[in-house]
Subunit: 160 residues, 2 copies
DNA sequence: GTGCGAATACTCGGATACCGCGTGTCCGAGTAAGTGAGG
DNA sequence: CCTCACTTACTCGGACACGCGGTATCCGAGTATTCGCAC
């Protein structure tokens, strides 16, 4: 199982926008240069964040992206759902009904498949932990680990 | 993010073997017929389970697979790791060092990337929940939901 | 009837194609800013 | 000096190729069984 790299990019971009903390929008080119990412493909991921309501986009000259909400209101679950989609990683195909299970009465399948519910429990724990953490939390941890990172990034975006 | 269907197959096969609970090995063809799965591809997944030490294989006529350990000693984490691999879903590419981060002193990267540690926390919760549940737990839940499923499946394998 | 040996049928195991999705890129529609002339 | 319309340059947004990993399949190596034959 593998998560697309777009999630990592989106998280770093949101963290950068939280650090910049400015009403002026930031263009895709600037955000891409800030982490040395392919601009066109990054743009694709940013569009997904706009569709999810995490970013606001402004077209035209001096346009770009800015946070749609405060960093404390953007959870990691929001970001993962925006990029990877809201579907569950484990999708039950109900194979219990096929083969030998075809001979069983329909009432036997009233309850949820035990395999599915087990996997769902684990995935729920994952989603719960993702929903518990916000971009603001990540920024706070990053500031605690490396206090200089925020200002350096702000300055590289010409916001001082 | 999407988990391969091999995991679901493996879980159902292990559950079936736990229900059968016999020293006589079960062939790929029988296991595949039990859930109407493509035998050749199922065989591929079973080989992964053998490599992971969850199943024992016996070649030759009347050969097949049987559980290498008791169902209580096989966690869902073991199964997922056997099929999908042990790599983390979120792989940090250290993009914080690229772009603007290149101008920072190396000491700033002493601590782990905050984005990575946040995602790792969530994934750890997932793995912890997977490791907490065993095939025996799944069997118990399935028996509680549909008591007839186990015997029916046992009988379809000609084990009575 | 019994022991032995070869033929046999069945099993796992790895090597081999196919296909969908993530990855990466490009060009067009739209907009705000800048510019110049006219009043 | 102010207003206004035009040009311009820059932005986002969606449509278009490429490559890799999951999906699916087949055939070969190896072994227990089974059948036939000799004793």
């Amino acid at each position: 199982m593998r998560m697309g790299k777009g999630v990592e990019w989106a998280l770093h971009v949101l963290l950068a926008l939280a650090w910049i903390d400015d009403d002026e929008p930031v263009s895709t080119a600037q955000l891409a240069a800030g982490h040395d990412l392919p601009p066109a493909y990054l743009n694709k991921q940013l569009q997904a964040l706009v569709r999810a309501g995490l970013l606001l986009s402004e077209p035209g000259a001096r346009g770009g992206f800015r946070l749609a909400r405060r960093p404390e209101s953007i959870t990691l679950m929001d970001v993962v759902a925006a990029i990877e989609g809201s579907d569950e990683a484990f999708r039950c195909m109900e194979i219990r009904r096929r083969g030998a299970g075809a001979d069983m009465p329909a009432s036997a399948f009233r309850e949820t498949c035990a395999v599915q519910s087990s996997m769902q429990r684990a995935e729920l724990a994952w989603r719960r932990e993702l929903a518990r953490q916000t971009i603001a939390d990540v920024r706070a941890e990053a500031d605690a680990h490396a206090p200089g990172a925020g200002p350096v990034l702000r300055r590289s975006f010409g916001r001082d």
